[in-house]
Symmetry: C2
Subunit: 312 residues, 2 copies
């Protein structure tokens, strides 16, 4: 399979991604084998609430990249959960994008499972796209507040998509937004409140000035369905890429991303190891009885358990 | 403080909750002290996408409980993140609910931080409300797909609020929904698609039949702003409570909830302990260099690290 993968066989790449999604040892050895081939693709993450118009903007960026001969991979989180608040798109809809152009490779990702598992998995699928030789990899995810910190580590460039409906008080959201975004898109700019939202964001961004890496968050207004602002968005992405390509910024950001990914994996393995210990499982069952009977609290139970384990 | 708390001093309860929010040892010893006083309140969780109308429904349920002399505590997740996709409500708006009625105690909770941290914290604040003597504690949270599994463990009753806009394909969401919900509300029932959504959910629920605990998910249509369906919702909640109060079901569910809470705390402590180890931190820094240089993958690095720790 790796041979056919290296030869650019899309079916082999598709199978590789299915192997990653299944997880376990198969996924691990595949990722080990592919890892040295990663690092070439430029990764852009689009995030924001459901219904903000991310897919249409991503379509615009795909067309732009294809227009200059770049191959594109897309990892699209499929908002199959009713909790996402957005429209429900099936694989069929998303796959329609790729039809008739071998230079666009779309992979849907079900949004079930833990937020942490999801961002790890999306990053690993992006690795496959990268190793497969895609020039640009776009990660399209349903943004949720809790995932903000993780979003920072998913890509070389993070685009946050908002609409005038996203909230009438920029003050309450500015810190989280500016920490995470390289580019903020105010989409649906034909709706009331769009100009005011964009102006607010611009003044907040300029007050804050350049953040980590010396980049000042760029605000772009678009009306994706009408195609307005798509070129400006493309130019903002290019400007950010040029910025990152100088002064070792790209490498520094990737280093932080790898640190975060490795840290998460270490914790995951340590967690699995913890529950593999039969003594701990036995002690847990015993102390749970005490919790249920009100003799100790969950906090105290956990503390006692871990302390007794440390003492051995 | 504990004395004034026990005497029903709202300020003391408020301070207790601030202590919990700050976390650390102060929070732990307070929770330890209060834990034996918990277990009396009936806990109801309302969850669903932003803009579904949860707050208005909760207001209706507060009025209902107050009408029969029950005191109420509300833990309301404040959707301060732009990613939530919903309207942004400030503390002022929410606090208005409680004005002029000492029998209603509202606490807002910022939705920053990890999903896991948030549900733990909400549960702990509910413990404080419970220990403080509130008869009914309502947890109002922004639902996100990832938090579904955790939602199950937050309350004695879980209400999922949807609207006709929540999605046109019940099939894609039914499994997650039915696993988590005791009552599903189709709110904004005056909008197109509401009857069809409710009918679909009803047929799916009846096909599935009674789930764990012998309860068949109940579907209620409401139009919260017009007050329609509020009584039916109240009756559904009462029926579920009567069901849970028989056959030891309430105790069984609480046992599972305590198991989950304790498990999460054990893992949290184990994680802290892990990084407290200077040898591990040193090894991590060294192996991260190998990852950055492409000599090993994040997966392999994590595996090697944990294996060397086990042997060491």
């Amino acid at each position: 399979m790796l041979e056919r993968f290296a030869a650019g066989d899309v079916l082999a790449a598709s199978r590789a991604m299915s192997t990653i999604e299944r997880g376990g040892e198969g996924a691990e050895s595949l990722l080990d084998a592919l890892y040295s081939k990663t690092g070439r693709a430029w990764r852009i993450a689009f995030t924001g609430p459901g219904g903000a118009g991310k897919s249409t903007l991503v379509d615009g960026m795909i067309a732009r990249e294809r227009g200059r001969g770049q191959t594109v991979g897309v990892i699209a989180e499929d908002p199959s959960s009713p909790f996402s608040g957005g429209a429900i798109l099936g694989d069929r809809v998303r796959m329609a994008r790729a039809q008739g152009d071998a230079g666009v490779f779309v992979r849907s990702l079900a949004s079930r499972g833990s937020a942490h598992g999801l961002s790890s998995l999306a990053g690993e699928l992006a690795d496959v796209m990268d190793a497969f030789g895609r020039d640009v990899v776009i990660l399209e995810s349903m943004g949720v507040g809790q995932a903000e910190a993780r979003v920072r580590y998913m890509a070389d460039c993070t685009v946050v998509v908002l609409t005038p409906e996203s909230g009438d008080d920029v003050q309450t959201m500015k810190s989280g937004l500016l920490e995470v975004a390289d580019v903020i898109v105010v989409n649906k700019s034909d709706r009331p409140g769009a100009d005011a939202l964009a102006a607010d964001l611009k003044s907040v961004a300029s007050l804050r000035g350049a953040g980590l890496g010396g980049w000042e968050v760029c605000i772009v207004q678009t009306s994706a369905t009408g195609g307005r602002g798509i070129d400006e968005l493309g130019e903002a992405l290019d400007a950010h890429r040029a910025h990152m390509d100088s002064g070792g910024r790209r490498e520094a950001r990737r280093r932080e991303a790898l640190r975060e990914r490795t840290r998460v994996m270490v914790e995951e393995r340590a967690r699995e190891e913890l529950w593999r210990d039969p003594t701990l499982r036995q002690q847990f069952d015993a102390i749970l009885e005490a919790v249920v009977n009100g003799r100790t609290s969950p906090h105290r139970a956990a503390r006692d358990l871990i302390e007794s384990r440390r003492r051995g």
